[in-house]
Symmetry: C2
């Protein structure tokens, strides 16, 4: 599940090369992630199919009308909330300063809300948020998160974890707020998996930071299921800083991990 | 969708005739309503199946353990949040003083939240809550709600509507709060259907009260879909008043409508 920004279809519309910033919301349940994959339903493909007959320049000009038109064309599990001409230098991925994710866990299966079950992990036993927050503190800052990522050749796994904390937000609901400059694949779900081990008492509070320092995937860290995860917000610099940020981030992410 | 109380399985457990009050939550999407029906999946049947091997007296004695055990036996779209020995005179249906429902409508399909789509009606056009609230006021009080109910032989359609108002609770989300001593079949969904006609401007604010006064189903009133509806709370009197309330309500509901 996620909310965020993206910029499909500027160039591929085949007319004036304008870039449109789409602020979108989607329910990830019925998708195989964001990026186009042969034979799979993805968010990118669904969005591109819906705007295939809508040239980018007319779209930007139409403004709110384009958004209403997309609301009729798109399936109900994807919505385009806003479509505006993107400022120069805007790049949904590389110009971002930070991403904020939430991960929701219900830690009492009897108190669980059936209506929220598609966006909340049900965990068998009570979680001690105090020790989880203690464990989280030790992981903050710039680190090589290789231990919590699926590795990709030629890509850095160094990230800056800006925030990771847990709070109770409902009856038997614990919610993690996770903010970083960027995330590697599976990073939030692996970090949450390690925290749950601490919260249920099967690992000590220092364990997630030890795993981090070892810089290698540890099979004892479970990657929690995707349905509890939601990309809540992506932060961008002011327009004047977009291009510089995108250049810097591209350089950083491509750097081989030392 | 709904939350409420019920008392299945006191007598049918075949042991001591204790009555257990269950506070439950369920997602109505996968059920054909509450009551057992041949060949259909209903909430009552699902609950009774889960406690078939759990005698009522042991259940009441077990307390929290029974609730945890039920959490393992029940499917994820039904939860028993609490199970306690019911006080004398308790009757989930007839001892209730009032029921509170919510009905959620998103009135901008572009701003709609895909994650909330299973519990929110998406309406094409912007709703004017001010005229809807004006329309609602004229329906409050004790009336024969035959115009907003599916009739059943031998049952009164007189009800007391205690509250019906609309408020914005999120981006493009309008939420109705509907409270009555009791409701006839389809009553909330028909009342909401009439209000939407007013809110979108296709009927004047006085129309829902005119329909009410006519005491006959009006085909111009749409019964809105069930997925926006949620039974939020049921109110009961203090223990000492339960039996008297149940007797009075049984008497009232069976009275032929004058």
């Amino acid at each position: 599940m996620g909310r965020g920004s993206t910029e499909p279809g500027g160039p591929e519309a085949g007319l004036a090369a304008v870039r449109v910033r789409l602020d979108i919301g989607y329910d990830g349940t019925g998708f195989s992630g964001w990026a186009r994959q042969p034979g799979r339903r993805t968010v990118q493909e669904t969005l591109e199919d819906a705007h295939a007959d809508l040239p980018a320049d007319r779209w930007a000009a139409a403004g709110p009308a384009a958004v209403r038109r997309l609301a009729r064309l798109l399936p109900p599990d994807v919505r385009v909330h806003r479509a505006v001409l993107a400022p120069p230098g805007f790049d949904a991925r590389f110009a971002a300063l930070w991403r904020r994710y939430a991960y929701r866990v219900c830690d009492d299966p009897a108190l669980a809300d059936p209506l929220a079950r598609h966006r909340t992990l049900w965990h068998r036993s009570l979680l001690d948020l105090e020790v989880m927050n203690q464990a989280a503190l030790a992981c903050l800052g710039e680190h090589d998160f290789a231990a919590y990522c699926r590795r990709r050749a030629g890509a850095s796994t160094v990230r800056t974890l800006l925030r990771l904390d847990w709070a109770r937000t409902g009856p038997a609901v614990a919610e993690a707020t996770v903010v970083a400059d960027a995330f590697c694949h599976n990073m939030v779900r692996a970090l949450v998996g390690a925290m749950l081990k601490v919260g249920e008492g099967s690992r000590p509070p220092g364990w997630p930071a030890e795993v981090l320092a070892a810089r290698a995937r540890d099979p004892a860290v479970p990657v929690v299921p995707p349905h509890g995860l939601c990309l809540e917000e992506v932060g961008y610099p002011a327009d004047a800083g977009l291009a510089a940020r995108a250049t810097a981030a591209r350089h950083l992410r491509a750097a081989p991990t030392a």
